[in-house]
């Protein structure tokens, strides 16, 4: 499991490789908050290589969404596979996030 942070123009792109669950969600939160404190305002979290997310992982995304918004920023999620989409739909969090089908679609939506 790892979180890879890259910049694509003015967008901070974070690839979640592995699971986003209770044991590692704080690491993602820390990485995003560091970037936010550094002035980043556009964030894309890419789940192309993510197996599954638990409720803690969903919770950290909710928390980050709020913090990013409070700083005048924007968050996009991309590349949710069918399993991840099911989780977002079950919890109705698909209504809370801007979810893109691909990285490119997310990048052009800012």
């Amino acid at each position: 499991m790892s979180f890879d942070v890259k910049k694509q123009d003015d967008v901070t792109v974070i690839d979640v490789e592995g699971q986003l669950i209770v044991g590692n969600r704080q690491e993602l939160k820390q990485k995003v908050l560091e970037e936010l404190e550094g002035g980043a305002r556009k964030f894309l979290i890419d789940f192309a290589d993510t197996g599954y997310i638990d409720s803690s992982g969903l919770g950290v995304l909710v928390s980050l969404s709020k913090k990013i918004r409070e700083q005048g920023g924007e968050l996009r999620l991309a590349n949710l596979n069918d399993d991840l989409r099911t989780l977002f739909e079950l919890t109705k969090l698909d209504t809370l996030f801007h979810i893109a089908n691909s990285r490119d679609e997310a990048l052009t939506s800012f």
Binding site: V22, G51, Y52, D54, D83, T86, L90, T91, T95, L96
Partner: protein, 141 residues
Amino acid sequence: MKPVDLVLELPNDLRAIERAVEFLASRAREAGFDEGLLRLNFRVGVTEALANAMLYGNRGDEKKHVRVDASVTAERVRVRVRDEGGGFDPDHLEDPTLPVNRARVGGRGIFLITKLMDQVEFNEAGNAITMVLNAPAREAP
């Protein structure tokens, strides 16, 4: 087919969850259980139960443990997770999908378990959860 019975005694350490879940899933896979249900329903459901046991049941106490009893066949997986805490009342949980609750950071764990598992039961003390997942019925040839 005779079930494969498994027992795990886990330290109260969140870092132990992923490996425990993968171990249980691999045994269920070997028994022939449905891969799709293992990939999502089983992994998320059991992860949630273990996290709840460690964080809320055992209150993060490193001296406590979580016991897992599992029984797996190709048709059914049954997992019981028990913590060493004083229990809780599962009947008074808020629906996290209500608009007023959607922006909350927590409160989705048990909801997900009940949505992803076919049967969910708590013991009377409220410190053990038993989850059952059934394989899809096979169509008659």
